[in-house]
Amino acid sequence: MDKSAATEGAFVLINEGRPLAVAASVVGSQVWLPADAVKAALGWELKPEGLCRGDVCVPVPANSPIAIGEDIDLAGLAALLRRPLALDLEERAAYLGAVAEDRGAALASLEAPDFRLPDLEGRVHSLSAHRGQKVLLVAYASW
């Protein structure tokens, strides 16, 4: 990476809804994140076996490396993990979403995905607190 062409500074990486400020270098259309920031934010780290989190490793193809030195390319990381990525270079922000197959597998398991959401008074409710009850879950909107 040609660091002389990079814009350094804060970058907001939103991981499935959770925004995290990380240091990043933007070079052209690529966002390079420090490996330690990726590990802290997402739990993934580069090892000789590939990109790993805990016992799980995803091999990195030799012809498409995602790291230069200690920096990891955000789009390459997202592609390797098959996670959807929305990126705004000017705003220095990106959203890493959930893998379609993971969401689909969770639904097909028929275990209702848990969530925690606030009411009008800001009290947080979870679905799992209603174990033992039948639940009619209704999503609606004012629009």
Binding site: D88, Y95, A100, A112, P113, L117, L120, K134, V138
Partner: protein, 206 residues
Amino acid sequence: MYEELKGLGFVVITVALDRSADDARPWIETARPTHPALIDTAHVLADLYNMVNVPTILWIDERGRIVRPNDVAFGDDTFQRTTRLEAARHLGALRTWVRDGVRPFTDEQVRALQVQPSAADQEARACFGLGEWLYGQGRREAAARHFARGAELAPHDFTIRRGTMRMVGLDPMGPEFRLMYREWTEAGRPYYRPLPDTAGTDPSGM
């Protein structure tokens, strides 16, 4: 309906996929619900359950298992005049499930009726997520770009197409919505997609 069933180990949880708590507040304060009435500005529920429009309902049993997948059903027949979707049949089945434990579907039927999210659906949701965050930062023009991209990726996702209209200065009941609805339904695609057994008459007669 709810008052009748809630003594039977039953709870309704409503979730407003709205821009802000204040957008949902008048609805909730008018209804004065005794059940949890939650606000989901980030569309967490849409992402977890692959919801692409509202209203979307599903049934979850005492063990936390989905026994009836995403469906369209209004709580009463108020909306039926405009949508021609029936509430009565759904409410009868709900009563039977809560009171008598009669499940509407087997697990295999539930799975067969589920719609799995595609990669494009999830990419669209990432665009929504980035846009929604930017909107919250006051970066409205940037937000609008990502909402537009999300709508391109998943044109059937009205939680994005209609659900972001207020955030880009459009009226979700106004001419832009009516045009979107007309173009969508005239191409032979339903705006509401009820499960087969609860489908009322053709809902395209708006």
